[in-house]
Point group: C2
Chain length 180, copies 2
């Protein structure tokens, strides 16, 4: 951020009076521009025991596999966002179920929230941001080719809980970028 | 938003190619400026059965009561944010416990996430954004004087679960502004 989105003047980074963290503050109108973590919503869609995965057609991690997920939009709930992303990325209709994982991706200033989901019918396909989509049994998941650690975390907890007949939710902080 | 924070040119609101929603797009450099929901983190702090509440010293809802809560910062987890807000607003040290409530406040473009918490010692006080703080038994909660519907939702679920010996989590969408 270099310019004030309100008046167009230059901004500087400084700690405002009464605050503890540096913020972008406008040198013209004085407006303080806060930056806060963003929510990424996704789901683990299941059809007859298999999981719907998408191969990414966009950066970051183009060509790697993920569950359907993306940035939550203003005006929707977390569940709506997870359902919409699944429709957009994998052309699949799902019922969103229980909360599966909340991953604080601190290095990226994101919180990834994943739900369990049931596909309403077997149809799926590749949306604009997807190269291909496919249904994978637990033993077929391309673990080394997953796009993000939050996806691996969600899938491993999903299978562990399913095997145990539970639907718990799991918190984790994944602070480091994915290096491969 | 009137100006591009990257180059200082004017922005217009339009639906970018391949998108479905209007965004602020820069007329100079073409950058798309997304706006997404923000996370507000809070907790219900308990000490010997009573709940720690704060009377707000700032707008909105100045003078009304809330549990400690505020915007999540970059670099922290949801639990860290809830713990920090309790320390800043009520000068109280807490252990953050289980997930209590996830409230989609769609009209405000916020998601409020509330955890259960245990105060580590009986000390508390009024932080900079608080007029006064106090411990309230269930029968003493000032229900008509609560600041936000998400606070009422979290407290009512907290007491119901506590009476039932459960620690569930609860989702709700509260789409309308609070009118009093």
């Amino acid at each position: 951020m270099k310019f004030c989105s309100h008046c167009g003047s230059a901004v500087v980074s400084k700690v405002p009076d009464g605050d503890k963290l540096p913020r972008f503050v406008c040198t013209g109108c004085g407006m303080i521009h806060y930056r806060n973590p963003l929510l990424v919503l996704g789901c683990v869609p299941e059809w007859e025991g298999r999981i719907l995965l998408c191969r990414r057609a966009i950066e970051p991690r183009l060509g790697y596999w993920t569950v359907p997920a993306g940035f939550m939009e203003i005006g929707e709930t977390m569940q709506h966002a997870a359902q919409r992303e699944c429709l957009e990325e994998a052309l699949a209709d799902v019922d969103i179920g229980s909360l599966l994982a909340v991953v604080s991706v601190t290095h990226a200033a994101q919180v990834h929230v994943m739900f369990r989901a049931k596909m309403l019918r077997p149809g799926f396909g590749a949306g604009d941001e997807t190269l291909e989509a496919g249904l994978y049994a637990q033993g077929e998941i391309p673990w080394p080719e997953l796009a993000f650690p939050s996806v691996e975390f969600a899938l491993r907890r999903y299978f562990a809980d399913r095997a145990a007949g539970r639907e718990d939710h799991h918190f984790i902080e994944l602070a480091r970028p994915f290096v491969k």
